[in-house]
């Protein structure tokens, strides 16, 4: 019964947190650019305005996938708060991404198509790191269950800090921040149009915003796992990571897709694998002695 209450509370509360963080994002970004910026509640105004617009669409299929995107993102978040299997959570997050890309493919629009292709390239870049993160969790805890991360006395970050750095790189992609805001962007309204989101409008676009809020909470939740005990330290670290991403967003320019894949593989995957090799060697030494 307890699990049900946690689940329901999460589903209700998470969007508020996510929307609030998005509002802070816009405010801080404005300040970094020497502007005053919109009110903190601006994302909510946008959301409700979009809900009130008339429904228009380019095809039926694209709408279908956007619901899947939302439901799967919520599911992934529930895996986190109910402390289930982290590897499976990553796969569900991947499924959500695939649904989003398929939505982009489902209309004959060059811009959304471009965005969808790029979204897949982004998945090619970040998916291995997320899965390696799960393997790292196993290497440290001997279990893929998130509940074990909370039960374990040693925080993940003490031994998994290279993977943590890789996760920060991935966070830039997942939050759609420069230099990796390739599939769609919060700023590139002219050159990408809106990338993969081009053909969504009104209430359907609002659904995407809602999903993004869930996603922010989920991603920061993953970051906070690195210091799970005490939880507030983890949350502070997650918020600090978020601020760092905003800063990176404002000081970098968008790079190409190829550069992104090469960079993430070269830096992210290498860091993860070095981290795991270290575990392996460590275990071997312990086994010998």
């Amino acid at each position: 019964m307890n699990a049900w209450i946690i689940a329901i509370v999460t589903v209700i509360v998470a969007p508020f947190i996510g929307g609030f963080l998005a509002g802070i994002d816009r405010r801080i970004t404005a300040r970094l650019q020497g502007r005053f910026g919109p009110p903190i509640l601006q994302p909510f105004y946008d959301f409700f305005k979009l809900l009130g617009k008339s429904k228009i669409a380019a095809s039926r299929l694209q709408l279908m996938w956007i619901y899947a995107y939302l439901v799967l993102m919520i599911t992934a978040l529930l895996f986190l708060v109910l402390r289930l299997d982290i590897l499976l959570m990553m796969f569900i997050l991947g499924f959500a991404g695939v649904c989003f890309a398929l939505g982009g493919f489902s209309s004959k629009s060059p811009y959304s198509h471009l965005g969808a292709n790029r979204e897949l390239m982004q998945m090619l870049a970040y998916e291995p790191v997320l899965l390696l993160l799960a393997l790292g969790v196993y290497a440290q805890n001997g279990s893929f269950l998130i509940s074990q991360i909370y039960a374990s006395p040693t925080p993940l970050i003490s031994r998994l800090w290279p993977i943590f750095i890789a996760l920060l790189v991935i966070l830039t992609i997942k939050l759609r921040k420069s230099p990796f805001d390739l599939a769609t962007s919060h700023h590139a309204h002219q050159e990408l149009i809106k990338g993969i989101m081009t053909e969504y409008s009104g209430p359907y676009y609002a659904l995407i915003e809602l999903t993004e809020w869930y996603e922010i909470v989920l991603l920061l939740g993953i970051v906070s796992l690195f210091v799970a005990n005490p939880l507030w330290v983890g949350i502070v670290i997650a918020l600090a990571a978020y601020l760092l991403e905003l800063f990176v967003d404002n000081v970098t320019a968008r790079m190409t897709v190829g550069w992104m894949v090469r960079f993430v593989w070269a830096v992210g995957i290498t860091l993860c694998i070095l981290n795991l090799i270290w575990f392996w060697v460590f275990a071997a030494i312990k086994g010998v002695s």
Binding site: A101, K108, H113, L120, M123, Q148, L276
Partner: protein
Amino acid sequence: MLPYNWMMAVAILLPVVAAVLVYIIRQYHARGVIVILAAIALIVNSILFLLHGKDTFSPANAQMWDMVVTVLDYLILLFYIYVGISLKNWLVLIFALTQIIPLAWFEFGMGGRAALANVSPTFVVDHLAIVMCLVISIVGSLICVFAIRYMYDHEHHLHLEKSRASRFLFWMVLFLGAMNGLVFANNLIYLYFFWEVTTLICFQLIAHDLTKEAIDNAARALWMNSIGGTALIIAMVILFAKGAPLSLDGILSGGVASAVLLLPVALLCFTGMIKAAQLPFQSWLLGAMVAPTPVSALLHSSTMVKAGVYLVLRLAPAYAGTRLSIMIALVGAFTFMAASGLAISQTTGKRVLAYSTIANLGLIIACAGINTPLAITAAILLIIFHAVSKGLLFLCAGTIEHIIWSREIEDMEGLAAKAPLVTVIFAIGVLSMFLPPFGMLLGKWMALESASTIPLAAWLFVIASAATIVFWAKWLGRFLQVLPKLGAKIESLSLSYTVPLWLLVLGIFGVGIGVASVYTGLVQNAVADVVTSGQALAVQGWGLTVNGYSAVSSTANFAVGNYPVWPLFIVFAIAVLIPFIFVAIKPGELRPVYLCGEQAGGTDTDEWYSTADVKTKVQLGGYYFQGVLGEAALNPWTYTLSIVLMVIMFAVALLAMGGAL
């Protein structure tokens, strides 16, 4: 229930009889009825095997059957020699000779024949074999039913004067019998015989269309698999020389020190890897794509390649805990990664499917190499799920080919409008290949959770997983890219197409939702046939739980992982099925896509005004990265690395054997 010898006869000999009947009776409807009856008989029979459980069997008049097998063995090999000479294909000839000469020398020169005749029992039908038999009989039979109508349309399209469909169905149906024999065989010479029969049938089916390309590719499949046959014979010779029993259960029971057996075991695994088209032997399976699509469906899903992984899996106890096991895992994992990467660059639908098959077989073989109870469970589950999903995908590919008469992915653009029914089925097939909650992902998840003992394999898995997402989603995206049309007409197809398709869809959901029952009722026992220690998976509530089993968690008693099967299916239903049914759109809500305001017409146009007001069609394409991930760019690397891996595999086995002597 039938007596056991009758069940064996139905499994192996009934397909032979049915095949001959199909060949003689050249009338379309009568032929179809025979195929359907044989299919039903095989399916029922395989379920009888399941109910009967584990057993062994030796035919009553063993000497006669031994004689038949020997004669047919040499006839097949002589036929290969004939093929080699008549096609002037020296590789075929060489590898036919490398089989027939050692075989004759072994059987008659060394006196292996007597030893072989002493092997008892001839057939061992354990749970792993029953799982294979179910896969072969159910999925394979459905594919044969599909082929009835498919060949009719195929020949119609080619404007053949004289129908050759009888010949085609003859080999297809015969294949099922040969496969059943293969998975039941315990005596190595029987194993070899059925192995050669599948190679022969494969050759005949690939060459079916008799184009130059078809014959070339068939010959390639023949000589590559002949290398495997040669390795099998060498393995037999070594076993005999070391005084080891010439049967699978003899090898597994470990009558002789296992290190001595490591080289023959490595050879047998090598044979299996060739059949399973592992790198660097993937080209025969890719070449097999020229054949009519039911052949591909049969080769990829339930027969042929599955024989390869079956043998590797079957031998898992013989190399458990050795370095050979690690090498097998790496060969499989490397194939998984390389084939997934290569699949991204493929522009032909069937080649993408082929690479995906190779990749998944690599995953299964890697699981066998990881060799923990969880990994073996994953491998067996993957065999089942892969057979169903891949069977469906190939049948869809065949149907699509007969709708658009093309195999190119770019030509499939907007198929959702032309053939909504097939698109939906195809989409289910694709989703079931790489996404939760379906079985393939469950298998991949288990493989990753078990891979911690061989970290390198786990890393290869991870990269392969990412590539898998890209190539499947990319392909599916091409299908969905449609102009909005309301009330699209659902295409009408022959029942011979739709019945197998729907049954396989049902199968995907059935084995997916009921995976807990499949596990407890079927796979658990099969796993116990391969690994004895511990049970890695437990059915708990609505899901599956992975128990702690490895060194890392030996002190703790918590679960390692958890896969909530039913909740995930409920999520899938809410996320995909319900929107698919209920999301509606009114005509007034449709707007054309954004083309900078230059679209030339309403919602149903994909044209825009280009320079000088010329109407231009919007052309969209996928990313293929042929420069980076194309075969030309990657193959030098993949071939080199995979050959190195294979060499190390044998070196490891040789060293172990040398150490033991």
